[in-house]
Structure formats: C-alpha cells, structure tokens
Symmetry: C2
Subunit: 449 residues, 2 copies
C-alpha cells in the first residue's frame, strides 16, 4: 500500500471491491468546496465543512475568467431563471424527444429528476446525492465531473414543453395533457424562404443552459441528458459562444456575426411593466398552469457571412437601418435614440429604408409587439466550400407567439432586405412553465405537485 | 437630413455615393479606442487620439468576463505566441488548402497579409488600414466588426505549414520549398484503431487562434479566412470551449470530458530547459529555418462519453491511473506527486496498472519524451442516437514528432485501456516556424524576408 492516501478517495486495492465501498461518504461536497479543499492551499475558515455553503471562502478558480463567475441564480422561483436573467455569455441548448413507451408517470418522474439536478447544478454543486469523487466506488459516479472546481458561473437551466408533448398518437393522448395545451403554443406556420431541417427543428422538451463558462453549460446538458437515458434523448442541440442581446440595462450591447450591435431595443428586465405585458403568460390568458411562464421560439439562422463581408459598409448599414460602429438609427442620434421612421433625406426618401431590418422588426411596425431576445452567435465548423457554418441561434421569449413572434417574423420574412444573407434552417417552439416551488419541479402546475 | 449625426459615420445620403466617400478617415482606430469613444461616457484623457495606443484609458468591456481579458501577447517575437503562452480558455483552429494556381509569390503575399492582420488583431485592433466603421463608405469594411469593443482577450494567432506545402505535384515543386522540408515534418503513420476522416485531417496551412473570448478567436479565423479568399480556403476547422492543459505553473489544472484533470504533468513555460530541449526546434536539428519553431500535432479525438459515464468510478480511475477528484497518481500522494510505477498493492499487482493512461504516456515509459499539450474540449452537436459529438481536440507542440508524439501515441494506441472510449477521427501535423521579426512575416526564414 502506498504511504499517502489521496484525501478524497480510498487507496486503491486491486481486486477487493468490497473495501472500495468503504470510500469516505462525504456526500454533497460542492464543486466549490471540493476545489478549495483539494486544489491548493488557499483555504479560509471552515475548511472541514463540506457541502455547498461556503461560496466565498473556498473559491479558487481554474481560470482567470472563472474568478468572476460566482453569480448564482435561484432555481426555485416564481419564474424560471434564464429568461429575464442577465444574458450569460455562453449557451448549450438541447431539444429532446420522449422515448416511446414512456408513460405520464415516467414523464413526471423525469421532470422531477431534472428539476432536482438543475437545483443542484445551478447552485454550483454536482448532480445526485454523490458526485464524481465520493460515494460507492464500484458504481458509476452520479456526476460526470468535468465541472468540478468550477463555480456556478451564472448557470441557469430553463425547461420547455413542445407542442408534440400535448398531441395524441394513434388516438391516445400521449401524456394525458392534450386538453391542457395552451392555445398560444401553436405550431409555427411556414414562413417565406424557410429552409428548415427536420433534424434541427421541433422536439417534445427543451433545455436551455446558459452560463458564463461553456464547460458549466455543457456539463449541465450532458448530465441532464444522462439522467434522461431511456426516457428522452437529444433530438438536436446547439452550442452558442456569444450572447447577442442584453437583457438588462447594465449590459453593453454585444455584436452579432454581421458585425452589428444586436439587441439595442431588446426588452430589459428593468422594464417591469413591459416584461409583465410582453413576456410572462397570465393566468387568464387561457392556460392557468402557464401563469408566470413564457413561450420560447428558437430559430437556427445560418448567415452567409462570406457574401455579407463583400458588401459595402453603406449597403450593410442601409439593410440594418443603423450605423455599424455606434449602432445609431439611420435617422440620427446615438445607439439608444429612438428611430425616426418619418425622417427623410435627399429626394424625400426615408432615411431608414422601407425594407430595413430595424424598421420591419420595430414595435411601431408590429402593433406594439416586442420580444425578449436571448440569442447566441454560433459557428458549427465549415462546409465543403470552406465557408464557416456560422450564424445566429435566435431565442425569443414572449407572452403569446400568435401576436408577437409570428407576425413580426412574417413581416421580416416577406420584406427584410437582410433575408438575402439569412437561411432559417431550424425552428422550434416551447411552452416554458413557471418556476418550480421550493423542492418542487418544473411542470407541477400542469401535472400536479 | 437628420439633426444629429452619429459620431463615427457620415450621415447617410441616399443616392449620393460620392458624398459617402467623404467619411471621416480616422484610420487605425482601435477596437478598444472605438468602444470607449462610442460606447459610453467613460473617457479619460486623450480622447481625440485615434489608434491602438490608449489601452487602459478607453477600455469599457462589453461583458463581465471581458473586464479581465485585457491580456495582450506580442505577435512579433522570437517564437510564435500561442505555444508557451498561458493556455487561453477558448480555441478556433482552422486548416487550409492553398488554391490551385497559387504561385510561390502568391503564397508569400498571403503569409505577409496574414502576419500583418495577426499583428493588428492580437493587439486588439481591427484588421486592415480601415475597419468596420470608417474608411471608404462604398467599399466593404476591411474588418468584419464582430470584435469591435472587445479587448485583445489574450488572443494569439499561430501559423503552421503542413507536409503537403513541401510536396511536388505533377513533377513540379509546388512552392519551390520541397528541399527545405524538415525531416521532422513527417507524414504521421497509421496508428492502431485510427478512424481518420479525410475531411478532418491534413492541410497545407493551419492557424490556431486562442483567446479568453471565443468571439475574438472566431473573429480572427473569419478575417484571416477572408483575407485568404482566392488563395487558400478552410479544409476543416474546430472550435474548442475549454482548455485541457495548463502551460504555466500559475494555472490550475482543468478537466477534460472524462471528468478528470488533464495536463497535470504537462510541460510548463517556467521549465525553460525542458522547453528548450523538448519544444523548440534548434538550428542544427536539420532545418535551420525552423530554429525557434516547433512541430504541432493535432488530433480530433471523439470520446464515447455516454459509455464512459456508465463505468464505475473505480474502473475510470484504474484506466486513468489517477484519482478523479484530486488527480493524484494511483500510487498515492497529491496531484503533483510523481507516480510510482513500481508500487504494488495486494497480490503484488502494480497500483498503477500496466495499461493505464498515466503509465503509458509518462516520459519514463517513453525514453524521456514529453509534449507541450494545448488541447481543448469540444462538443459538435449530437449524433443521430442523441449522443453528444464530444471529445478532445488534442494539440501538442514538440521539437521532433519522430521521437515524441509518434512513439508516445504508438505506445498508447497499442495498449491504453482508455482506447475503448476514444475514437481518433482527425489528424494533422504542421511545422510551426519561428516568430516574425518586427514588421516581418511568419515564414520569412523559409521564403526570405
């Protein structure tokens, strides 16, 4: 036997699994706590206290960027986190299909398991009652381990229910909830020029994992997928590396892969009456169980950036309707100036062109409808021509897609000058229920506590 | 005309392109400078000074994580940056094929253009003499713009030359450098169980862009690809989201997607004699032009993480030869304890198994050969089974692959117990020349200044 034993695992004894089961059962040790204990000598008071309680004392980040990734958002809350939460920098999104043979009770069980795991991970803890480094030594770890030592990093995990969850198959109501399908959870119509791929569209369930550390977001989707094994499997998934919208006034406006600021006029969390009116579903909207929830539309939009990059600065700005540097509307002012769609220039032409993106997407042109956008830039390798498979993974939350996303997108799809550089290849819609009650699960208002 | 004019662009005048050419010619304005000028009122002294000189005064980061991404590494240096540079958090790597018909002079021109652009971008500036928001208004912007406002974020851009650059085609020496091909730039042999895809292997040229901000790394590859238009095109490319190795003692060891610390025993920049002996090519190694350069081996290694995750903690640790939590060798101690390959447990069996990864990869088992590893975790969506396309994009630098990567990998490929969970699907080797002289270009020691 070796003289020194690693502090967090039993000394290995070849061929004696029984002894291995005597591993120290320090269950519940947190990612943060573990790292502080095992990683280096930067320890404050309370070293011996395991569990997820000592956030500040034990943090010793694995990278410079981790130092400020200490944000923790609550999982149990009236609304699910990841909607009005300040947009994190990175995304891992997955759409799932429920396996055949899964019953209503099985589905409820999955939602309970997912919620319990999400509560742990968003707090910066591993999933399960034992993690990657303790518990039964002869069983697979409940947590896969790649986020050990990393702080919560602002992780939010947001669950959604697709239209197909509410459908009947062969005359059978799949999960006994067909009558509860919200009218707002429509099947999205075909929009002009849609080039949708079945493999990148739809899904019974979705999970949006956002974090300031991509490893934390990937860890979340991976572990939730693992928990779903045999009950639901990933239908499609998407990594996003750069947020394209601000959701609070404290965030600077980031840029999309056209090089333009994106989301200047986005709904901000501070606009509480707008959020209430445009983002959250209300109990009297038609589906009482959705009160405090929202509707998520996801669109995978490939950008033909190589073509865009050969377009003049003037053409780019005319298409967007804003200047590229400052992001000011073409009617003048600075980034946050209101666009003046009536302003005209030489020859009486409107300064903000009739087919510009900013005009067609603006609430004034859409009966006041707004969206809370939360999209991310993506690059999925390259195609056979050597062009980057790049674009925008568009995510928008809203109270009712019938009066918000659908008419706005129909407006854009018909007329937007930007369409020449866009290909909508994926599409999905989900009802995002309200948050789970303390210790409860997402979906409890639909399925019962 | 609108009353107020955006500060960084001319007021638009429909139909009069001539006036647009009168845009303010504030050439060379930096990403940092621009953001400070245009983004908000946080301005120090020297507001009117355009150019990339006012690093500290103008920084107003676009996100929390950007606040500490101010690291700037020099492009003009004896060695290329991105090798012993502290491993940044994110990667965008691209392999290029030179287009047919491109001459030696064309290739030299490309390398000069690439080097000039890399010098600008690594300093936090846009590419070209004018950027996305100034310069001729009727021409495409020289910079695509999505990194405007973002700091340098530790960006390094590292160029390499593949074996095919030195080959003859139809009896013609493609670029007149066949005689200069270093003997160390071998064609990699077939390793047991290799499942290489042609579309993810090889290439005439490569660029490794590393940054703490993925948007900055993507911006670099995108703009360099654009500069190469008509001369070289992407053959394959890879995004990586999490570094898997430390390259300095100041960095904590990160974890790979098996959940284990990876790179504990990596060569560290501080080990100057090891770096000199194992990383940098020497002038008397056979190719004088490679003095101060290195050889890069890239391997795309898919991990079957779903299978791995069903394996017991004991089995995982036995395969790796280290504990999962602490990362200590299975012979005892803590993470940085030297593994004792002679130590035995019950029944005289070695504590560190004969087919464990740590044993087979260790310098003691490979005639002292080491690698400077700089790999990244990746997730490329999912497959048809709903499994994540996840793994390790392995990158290693070395003085001579014939005595370093090749024998080590042959050792691993034959015996490593981990192979059951690995699929090598991509492979490439590149000669990475020394750094460019001040104002010069990468490749000048090969092609002449």
């Amino acid at each position: 036997m070796p003289d020194s034993t690693p502090p967090d695992a039993p000394a290995p004894e070849e061929g004696t699994d029984a002894s291995a089961d005597a591993a120290p059962a320090a269950s519940g040790i947190s990612r943060r706590g573990l790292f502080g204990l095992a990683g280096a000598g930067v320890l404050g008071a309370g070293v011996g206290v395991a569990g997820g309680i000592a956030v500040d004392r034990f943090v010793l980040p694995a990278s410079a960027s981790a130092q400020e990734n200490a944000a923790v958002y609550p999982f149990y809350a009236a609304n699910q986190s990841g909607i009005v939460t300040p947009a994190q920098d990175r995304l891992h999104f997955a759409s799932y299909d429920v396996a055949s043979g899964v019953t209503r009770d099985d589905l409820i069980g999955l939602l309970k398991d997912w919620s319990a795991a999400a509560a742990l991970m968003t707090a910066g803890d591993p999933v399960g009652t034992y993690g990657a480094v303790n518990g039964p030594y002869t069983a697979p770890p409940e947590d896969t381990g790649e986020a050990l030592g990393l702080p919560a990093s602002g992780l939010t995990i947001t669950f959604g229910f697709g239209p197909t969850l509410f459908t009947t198959a062969d005359g059978t109501d799949r999960f006994g909830i067909a009558a509860q399908r919200p009218e707002a959870l429509v099947d999205l119509p075909h929009f002009p020029a849609d080039m949708l791929q079945e493999a990148a569209s739809g899904g019974d369930l979705c999970i949006q994992a956002c974090s300031d550390d991509p490893q934390v977001a990937v860890h979340a989707i991976r572990n939730l997928s693992r928990i779903a094994f045999g009950r639901a499997a990933i239908r499609w998934s998407q990594l996003g590396f750069g947020r394209t919208s601000s959701t609070t006034t404290a965030q600077a406006t980031p840029r999309n892969l056209f090089g333009f600021k994106d989301g200047t006029a986005n709904i901000k969390a501070e606009e509480s009456s707008v959020v209430d009116d445009q983002v959250w579903a209300h109990g009297d909207d038609g589906a009482a169980w959705m009160a405090g929830g929202s509707y998520l539309v996801a669109r995978k939009i490939r950008m033909t950036i190589e073509t865009w990059d050969r377009t003049s600065l003037k053409e780019q700005e005319t298409i967007v309707g804003r200047t590229k540097g400052e992001g000011a509307p073409y009617s003048g002012g600075t980034e946050f100036s209101a666009p003046d769609f009536e302003a005209t220039g030489q020859g009486g032409k409107p300064l903000i062109a009739a087919d510009s993106h900013v005009r067609l997407a603006h609430p004034d042109q859409n009966s006041g409808a707004q969206l809370l956008r939360r999209g991310y830039n993506f690059v999925d390798g390259n195609d056979d021509l050597g062009h980057l498979n790049a674009g925008l993974f568009f995510i928008a939350y809203q109270r009712d897609p019938r009066t918000q996303f659908i008419p706005i997108q129909m407006n854009l799809a018909k007329s937007d000058a930007m369409n020449e550089y866009l290909r909508h290849v994926g599409s999905a819609i989900f009802a995002v229920p309200p948050g789970a009650s303390n210790g409860g699960y997402v979906g409890e208002t639909l399925f019962g506590a």
